[in-house]
Symmetry: C2
DNA sequence: TCCTTGGATTGACATTGGTCGATGCAATGT
DNA sequence: ACATTGCATCGACCAATGTCAATCCAAGGA
């Protein structure tokens, strides 16, 4: 899988308006549509989130008192193998939603503050 | 593809807290994580949105003055074949983001009001 | 009636994505 | 030094997804 870092999305400007087709079926465009590169970027972020296991991972991490969870927390609650969970964690880290810190034998994952809200905001504004 | 109707998401309640593992690496959970069914539902909605072409389609439809666009508007602006665009439109309709109305030879697509904001809201609350 | 046109459906294809078993690796305990 | 433990990586497999050419269908227009 090739989820590259996409956040933050806030520095991607809107594209210019496209030429308005004057076909019979068309009505005028009130504002500019999203720029293709911006659509690509947002789609990459949404793809990283669009999986039940990854949403649950994010929720479990965010629900922890210190917003930090180790892989063992996740293997307990998700009925998935450890390699699969590790894979999903990598996807979320690569997409910029989680960060990883290793202490001793354990890896701890935490939310990147505002990353989820940023995507939600961009999405609502599309 | 099998995107079933998932919106609105607001009637899906949160699940109960999971048993807290008392392993050495764990910290206490401050609140309940998302329920698996809720994660499935949200993931289906996000999957429908997680494509650059579909995001652009939504944006083009929403940008129209009357929030309505026909397929010819989309084939003009997207470098995709007509069957592909028709396919993406079906995904968005099935997921509850667009509605279709046919007048004469043309099909017009409009946004389902609040559908995008609903997903964005649920996402930010995960 | 026939032809044209807008758009949906079908079928096929290549690519991507989710999953797991096996393995590797670093840190800790004995 | 050796065994154990927690977790990442690799390789393989199958299911799901995005794309298009070909086709079909309905609505108008000649």
């Amino acid at each position: 899988m090739t989820f590259t870092q996409t956040l933050p999305l806030t520095d991607i400007s809107r594209g210019v308006a496209y030429g308005q087709a004057d076909a019979a079926c068309s009505s005028p465009s009130a504002r500019a549509a999203i720029a293709p590169e911006r659509a690509d970027s947002l789609a990459r972020s949404l793809k990283a989130l669009a999986d039940p296991a990854r949403l649950r991972i994010i929720s479990i991490v965010a629900a922890h008192a210190d917003a930090e969870a180790c892989v063992c927390d996740l293997t307990d609650q998700l009925t998935l193998s450890q390699p699969t969970i590790s894979h999903h964690l990598k996807v979320l880290v690569d997409a910029g939603f989680l960060t990883r810190v290793k202490r001793g034998t354990w890896s701890y994952y935490s939310m990147v503050p505002g990353s989820l809200e940023s995507v939600a905001g961009v999405l609502a504004a599309v």
